[in-house]
Subunit: 314 residues, 2 copies
C-alpha cells in the first residue's frame, strides 16, 4: 500500500486531510437537518459527522492522496459514531483516496491481532472472510513492545497494507515519556523515541519492500510530529526507509519551513496531515469569507494553500 | 467508582472475569444458531459473542465485582462486534457488575477527551447529554504523556468513574520499552515503567479520593501484570494509594503465590483478571467434563477455583 501512497502522492501532493470532526465544526444547516431526522440523538450526531465528511471529501479528493479519520471523534458517539467512521472510510476509498485510520491501537499479541484484522484485514466467520473497517493504514502505539506491534505488521504485510507507529507525537507533553534519555552503553544520548525509531526501522527491514514501486520504502511507517523538527532531522537518519506520517502542521504550530527534514532527498518519505486547519477552515479568520454554506469550498481552498505552502519548501 | 469496586470486592473477591471471546471459544450450538439467523456474517459473529457472554455473565455475576471486556475482540467484527460490546457492558451493569472496558486508548488532548466522553462520560448533542458505551473504568495507554492522560482523568473524576493506566503489561516483550533504564540523576536505576508509576501516583493524588468509602484509594489505577511479581513489589511502594488491575494470572503464567505483593496490608488495592482461563474453561483439560453444553457452568467453577486460589494466599 506504500506503493499506492507514493504513486498517489506523486500525482497530487504529500498532504493528508484529517477528518476529525466535532459537532462545533459542522455548519448549522447540516446539524439541523440531522436533528430533524433523528432528534438530538447519537444517530443524529453520526449522520451530521458523515454528511459533513462527505461534502469535504467531495471537495478535496482530487487534491490529495489520503485522508486520516481520527476514530476517537466517532467513538465519542458510540455505535452511531462508528457507523459514520465506517461510511467515511468506505466513501473515501470509493473516491480514490487512501484511508489512514488514526486509531492508535496497541495491545498484547492476541488482542493486537484482533485489532489488526478488524481494521486492516479480514475476520474468518464460518467459511467467509470478511473485512470490517477496511482502512489502508492505521496508527499503532508501541508501548507494549515488539510482540504488541508485530501482529499489526503481519496482517498489514499479508493484506498489502501498512501501519504508522507512534514515535514522536505532536502534543506539548509528548516529551514526558518519549524524550526520556535511556541509560544505554553508548555515548550518544538516546531518548526513548529514538529507540522506538530504531525498532521501527528494524521491523520495517524485516517486513521488506511492498514491491518494485515502493522506492525502497516498507509498510512500517512512523508518526513524527511537525512540532518537533529538530528531532525529526535525526529520526530521518535513523529511519531512512520509513515513511513518516507528520501531524501537527498548522493549528498545532508546525510550519512548512520546518518540514524539509522530514522528507528524503528523493522528495518522498513523508506525508503531512492537517485536520482542524482544513475541516474547520470556514471558522478561521483567513477563510471566513466562505461562510458556513461554502464550508467545503473553504476546506478545498485551505488544502490548496497548504499544498502551495509545503511544495514551496521542498 | 473505586468505592463501589471496593465495596463489591469486599462482598465477593478481588477477581475480574475478562470477557475476551473469540469464535473458537464459543460452543457450536451458539455459533450455529447465530449462523442460522444471520448467515456467516459479521452480524452472526456479534450475536454469537453476545449470547456467549450473556450466559457467562448469568453464571458468574454473583461471584465477582466486575468484568473486563477486551474491546479488540469485538472491534474485529466492526460495528456488529461493537454492538455486542455495548450490549455486554449494559447487561453486566444490569446484573450489578462493574465494567472495566479494556480499551487501552491514548491520544493527544482533544482526541483523548473524545474517547473519554465516549467510554466514561457523556456527549452533548443539542440540549441532550448522552452516554455511548457506559463503562465504569477503562484502561489508558500513557505513551503520549500527561496531556494525553489527563482528559481521561478529568472525565472520570466528573462522572465518578475511574481509569487504569498501563504501567507494566503482561506480555513477554513488555520490557522492550517499559523496562528501559532511564538516565536519571539519582542513583537508583529507574526503569520507564517506574517513572510512569510515579506519574500515576501524582495524577491520582491530584484527583483525590472519590469519597469517604474509597479507603484512601483514588480513581487513577494502574495495570500491573501478574507475570512480573518482582516489579510489582516495588510498584506497590511507589503507588500505595493506587488500585492495581492485574492481568496475566492463569493461562499467561501468573500464579496466586506471586500475587501477595500486589495487595496492600489492608487486603485491598488489587483486582486480578483472568480471561481465557475462565471463559474457555470448558476447552481445558481441567474442566472438560462439563462439555460444550455446560460451558458457563465450567466458567463458574473456574471462577470459584480462582477465588479459592487467590484467597488462599491473601
Amino acid at each position: 500500500m506504500i506503493s499506492a501512497l507514493i504513486e498517489q502522492t506523486k500525482k497530487t501532493a504529500p498532504v493528508v486531510v484529517g477528518l476529525d470532526p466535532i459537532l462545533d465544526f459542522i455548519p448549522a444547516h447540516i446539524i439541523e437537518k440531522a436533528y430533524d431526522e433523528y432528534g438530538e440523538s447519537l444517530a443524529a450526531a453520526g449522520e451530521a459527522l458523515w454528511q459533513f465528511n462527505k461534502e469535504i471529501i467531495d471537495h478535496v479528493h482530487d487534491l490529495i492522496p489520503a485522508v486520516k479519520p481520527q476514530i476517537a471523534m466517532y467513538e465519542s458517539f458510540g455505535i452511531e459514531g462508528l457507523k459514520a467512521f465506517a461510511k467515511t472510510c468506505a466513501y473515501s476509498k470509493e473516491k480514490g483516496l487512501l484511508v489512514i485510520g488514526d486509531v492508535k491501537r496497541g495491545d498484547i499479541g492476541s488482542s493486537a491481532f484482533a485489532y489488526a484484522i478488524g481494521h486492516l484485514g479480514k475476520v474468518q466467520i464460518g467459511t467467509n472472510c470478511i473485512s470490517a473497517f477496511q482502512e489502508d493504514f492505521i496508527t499503532v502505539n508501541p508501548y507494549l513492545g515488539s510482540d504488541g506491534v508485530k501482529p499489526f505488521i503481519e496482517v498489514a504485510k499479508e493484506e498489502g497494507k501498512g501501519i504508522f507507529v507512534l514515535v514522536k507525537t505532536s502534543n506539548p507533553g509528548s516529551g514526558e515519556f518519549q524524550d526520556q534519555i535511556l541509560n544505554t552503553t553508548n555515548e550518544s544520548k538516546t531518548p526513548l523515541y529514538e529507540l522506538v525509531a530504531q525498532k521501527v526501522a528494524e521491523w520495517g527491514a524485516e517486513a521488506g519492500e511492498d514491491d518494485e514501486n515502493s522506492y525502497g520504502y516498507n509498510p512500517v511507517g512512523a508518526v513524527v510530529a511537525a512540532t518537533y523538527p529538530e528531532q525529526a532531522r535525526r529520526l530521518r537518519k535513523i529511519m531512512p526507509q520509513t515513511y513518516f506520517l507528520v501531524p501537527g502542521y498548522g493549528v498545532q504550530g508546525g510550519k512548512a519551513a520546518d518540514l524539509t527534514h522530514f522528507f528524503n532527498a528523493d522528495g518522498l518519505g513523508a506525508i503531512v496531515n492537517s485536520s482542524r486547519g482544513i475541516i474547520a477552515a470556514h471558522q478561521s479568520e483567513r477563510y471566513q469569507e466562505f461562510g458556513n454554506a461554502l464550508f467545503a469550498t473553504a476546506a478545498r481552498t485551505a488544502v490548496e494553500d497548504m499544498i502551495k505552502d509545503i511544495k514551496g519548501v521542498l
